[in-house]
């Protein structure tokens, strides 16, 4: 027991901070209906602000602390409330795109302003300590735990006892009803966001001295509070706090017992393991209702045949001519083709079937490593690529299991947890990246096609990409595509019509994982060697954000997203990784807002289209001709959901 004590103490110290962050997260989630994926980024921003005030500007630490907690909490909270107000009851996809965009933008901004290197964060609390049963305990640990507990307990009392607290709890249940009683739900929501932001900043302050100042590290550590929230079932504040302690102690104890590779990454993934287990085990009805209907993909009237033919000729011609036009930039375009495959597989899940996946690059990583290992042991490249895709299929089915039970935001959480688990544990194992943390292969020679030349390899990738896009289109147009689109809108209708929706979900996850893994195989073949870092959870998040920016069509949006991710940064040199993250993140915030307010936007478009139609049919002749010349009026057809009048 005695040798466990130090681990328990460390666990309680860090766990109470997770609990504090988790309590803030649950509070904002319950009052606004928005699960803030950027909660960790908020914590990081708070820590950096403190650093900026205290270290760079020499402000005394209590003052810097007060500014961070009060001013930053208040201003940040107001800003977040305003930003996320229209997300209440919006599609979970919109919530994820917006808050993930916020996460990326914050991280990108911090990295741009403060640089990538981990900075030393001054220990502003006393580090001396005392001994309990021969185990050293630091005062900073004690103070941190006490502050966190006081914060959580104070909030609990506030919610139970004060008038504002009570109306805050009522807002959770029914905002309209609160409005009818003459109170203002927006005000209560603002208070909740201010408290939540302040708690996040506090947890960032408490974690930073032991971790050092690193935006990514802080963001993902506070994301560990998701595990705490799961134990509180995303609704109970006291249980969330206790959940934080459980997560902290479990992760800490795991570091004692798990010392063998590849399992050494497991302790840091423990919170996500807990998150996955709880979400999969608990009945969906016990979790708070999160979000409204899934966004439905764009559906335009089918293109006339001549336009499709023209598009195919022009597009095909451009693609064939490309290697002779772009010169030394060709690798960028080859990379873009691989990305079209990966993003396309994600769009199939996200836009066609309405399922969230925040672990898509984990599938791609499986394809990459399989291709690497198989070609390394002498298998033909095409066979290796195909097997790489097939290896991801059972993994896709595995991810589909939570998808059967969960939907919306919770599915997003589980898949994010899965991505982190993959990176921390499975990536380290011998059959993936192993101790080298990278996998390598060689370019194929297929008959007269010598893939070792960049031009020929471009055509190899082009052929695969065209085949994948054609398959995606075939799925979209066939019966399966209709079933998937109907599943996004009304799984209830499908079940009562006789479809086994679970089977359909497994199918679409398998298909999507297969294509993503093929894309991963293409990536590793292009570069010859690729590190596990390229498939990190952060990159998966970036992919979802970029796809969100590019609209909800299957092929068009995927191509656009691939160009943004792969080609643009190569041509625009100012767009380094951090700027990219910042720019894409900011754009994703805007895209999330647009997605959430789509019914309103669509209604606006529908209205102007209807007005145009009226002028065409009943207006004076010159007006009719003018409008008719501009277009057939059907162009801006209604793609609204039921939000349209």
């Amino acid at each position: 027991m005695k040798e466990l004590l130090p681990f328990v103490i460390v666990g309680i110290a860090s766990g109470s901070v997770y609990g504090l962050a988790g309590v803030g997260l649950v509070l904002t989630f319950r009052t606004s209906g928005v699960l803030n994926f950027a909660h960790g980024a908020t914590a990081a921003a708070g820590a950096f602000l403190f650093y900026w005030l205290h270290v760079e500007h020499g402000l005394a630490w209590p003052l810097a602390c007060a500014v961070t907690l009060v001013v930053f909490g208040f201003v940040g909270g107001l800003a977040l409330e305003r930003l996320t107000r229209s997300l209440n009851r919006a599609s979970p996809v919109a919530v994820v795109v917006l808050t993930v965009g916020l996460l990326l933008a914050t991280q990108g901004f911090l990295a741009l302003r403060f640089g990538d290197a981990i900075r030393y964060f001054p220990a502003f609390l006393p580090t001396s300590g005392f001994h309990v049963a021969g185990v050293g305990v630091g005062w900073d640990q004690v103070i941190g735990a006490v502050v966190a507990l006081a914060g959580a307990a104070g909030l609990y009392a506030f919610l139970r006892l004060s008038h504002t607290g009570r109306s805050m709890r009522a807002v959770v249940e029914n905002p309209t009803l609160v409005q009818l009683t003459g109170q203002r739900p927006a005000t209560t929501a603002r208070i909740a966001w201010a408290i939540g932001t302040s708690f996040a900043a506090l947890s960032g302050l408490l974690l930073a001295p032991t971790l050092g100042l690193d935006a990514t590290l802080l963001t993902f550590l506070v994301v560990q509070s998701f595990g705490a929230c799961a134990i509180g079932l995303f609704k109970s504040l006291p249980l969330t706090y206790v959940g934080g302690l459980v997560v902290g102690v479990a992760a800490s104890l795991a570091t004692k017992y798990i010392t063998v590779r590849p399992w050494t990454g497991l302790p840091s993934a423990v919170p996500f393991l807990i998150l996955i287990v709880v979400l999969v085990a608990v009945s969906n009805t016990k979790l708070p209702d999160a979000g409204g209907r899934i966004i439905v993909a764009d559906r335009r009237p089918p293109r006339p045949a001549w336009r499709s033919v023209a598009l195919a000729i022009v597009g095909g011609g451009t693609l064939v001519a490309l290697p002779f036009l772009v010169g030394t930039y060709l690798p960028l375009w080859t990379n873009a083709l691989s990305m079209v495959v990966i993003v396309g597989s994600l769009a199939l899940l996200l836009w066609t079937s309405g399922q969230l996946s925040l672990c898509h690059l984990s599938f791609a990583a499986l394809g990459a490593t399989t291709v690497g290992h198989l070609t390394g042991s002498g298998a033909p490249w095409l066979v290796a690529l195909l097997v790489g895709g097939l290896v991801a299929v059972p993994v896709g089915a595995l991810v589909a299991i939570p998808a059967i039970r969960l939907s919306g935001i919770y599915l997003g959480l589980v898949t994010l947890g899965f991505a982190i688990l993959m990176q921390n544990v499975v990536f380290q194992s011998g059959f993936m990246f192993g101790t080298e943390t990278a996998v390598s292969t060689h370019r194929p020679v297929l008959g007269f096609v010598d893939g070792r030349s960049d031009t020929w390899f471009y055509f190899v990738v082009l052929a695969v990409a065209v085949a994948v896009v054609a398959s995606l289109l075939a799925i979209q147009r066939a019966q399966l595509g209709r079933l998937l689109r109907a599943m996004a809108e009304s799984p209830l209708m499908l079940a009562t019509s006789g479809l086994d929706v679970s089977t359909t979900k497994v199918l679409v996850f398998c298909a999507s994982a297969f294509f993503a893994a093929i894309g991963g195989g293409l990536l590793v073949t292009q570069y010859g060697s690729i590190a596990g870092l390229a498939f990190s959870p952060l990159q998966s998040l970036l992919l979802v954000a970029v796809l969100g920016i590019c609209g909800t069509a299957l092929v068009r949006s995927s191509v656009l997203a691939a160009l943004l991710v792969a080609v643009l940064p190569g041509y625009v040199h100012a767009l380094d990784t951090n700027t990219q993250q910042f720019v894409f993140g900011t754009a994703a915030v805007a895209a999330g807002l647009a997605l959430a307010n789509r019914p309103a936007l669509a209604a606006w478009f529908a209205r102007s289209a209807a007005e145009t139609e009226d002028r065409v049919q009943r207006g004076p002749v010159p007006e009719r001709l003018r409008v008719a010349r501009r277009g057939d009026g059907r162009r801006r057809s209604v793609f609204a959901g039921r939000g349209a009048p």
Binding site: A478, A486, M493, T496, G498, V501, V638, F639, R642
Partner: protein
């Protein structure tokens, strides 16, 4: 209209035996029994909150009954999954229409057929051959005609009125070939003329003797006009079962609808929404 379907004794379609559904301590349905045979229209009426929709949900497996049995063509389906019951021939529509807004009417209606045919078979979900597609198209056209919405076929479901969306739902259930249809307030959102036409559609649907309908409805005049049998639920209890004439004359039904102290005006129209 009743003479069309007449009093033919159909095969036992859907049978509900002593169904009991409780939510926490609240008893939503208390030992209710009813039968909706093939070839007939069976009405299920009752005041708001009587447990009508809950009964339908229990039949389709959306809520789990505390006690009782659901039989479909003699087979006990109480423990079956929703989709399995549908494949066994139980179709339904919803109080708030469940249509896919982004799809055309034709695609929506085809979904009934495609979902039932694909079922739990992954291969069938993945691919449907050209012959199959032709067969689907024919069935869909027929269902659209039968429900009188053939001219809406290529419109997006999003732009339809609520009444038209209900007809799309009905056509979907018809296309799916379900032998027992559970219709949850299908006439709300229709005007008077449309309701009469709708009644005609229902009667024609059961006329071939291939289909039975269980109709949950607030429009009492529609129920009286088309139903062969009527069941009356009140506070979860089945308080009456009989023909429309018997229902109209029953003091029990009248009391449930109008309150015990009022006896003029009759049940019909008493609780129209």
């Amino acid at each position: 209209m009743r003479t069309v379907s007449g009093h033919r004794t159909g095969a036992p379609g859907l049978e509900v035996e002593r169904l009991r559904v409780t939510f926490g301590g609240h008893v939503a349905v208390a030992d209710a029994s009813l039968a909706a045979p093939v070839g007939r229209i069976t009405g299920l009426i009752g005041p708001n909150g009587a447990g009508k929709t809950t009964t339908l949900n229990a039949c389709t497996g959306l809520v789990r009954p505390t006690a009782g049995r659901i039989l479909l063509f003699g087979a006990d389906v109480t423990g079956w999954r929703t989709s399995a019951r549908a494949r066994a021939g139980l179709g339904r529509t919803f109080q708030t229409p469940e249509v896919c807004a982004a799809m055309t009417v034709r695609e929506n209606v085809a979904m009934g057929l495609e979902a039932r045919w694909s079922g739990a078979n992954p291969l069938r979900q993945l691919v449907a051959g050209p012959g199959r597609r032709r067969a689907v198209a024919e069935e869909v056209d027929e269902a659209l005609r039968a429900c009188g919405i053939a001219e809406l076929a290529d419109r997006a479901a999003a732009v339809l009125s609520a009444g038209q969306q209900r007809l799309v739902e009905l056509a979907r259930a018809v296309a799916g070939g379900f032998e027992v249809l559970l219709l949850d307030e299908p006439s709300s959102g229709l005007d008077e003329g449309e309701t009469v036409r709708f009644g005609g559609i229902l009667v024609r649907l059961v006329a071939g003797g291939r289909r039975g309908i269980l109709l949950v409805e607030h429009d009492i005049s529609l129920v009286m006009a088309v139903c062969d049998d009527i069941h009356v639920l009140d506070f979860g209890e089945m308080i009456f079962a009989g023909t429309p004439d018997e229902t109209r004359a029953s003091p029990v039904v009248r009391a449930a609808y109008l309150g015990p102290d009022r006896d003029e005006a009759g049940a019909a129209g008493g609780r129209r929404r």
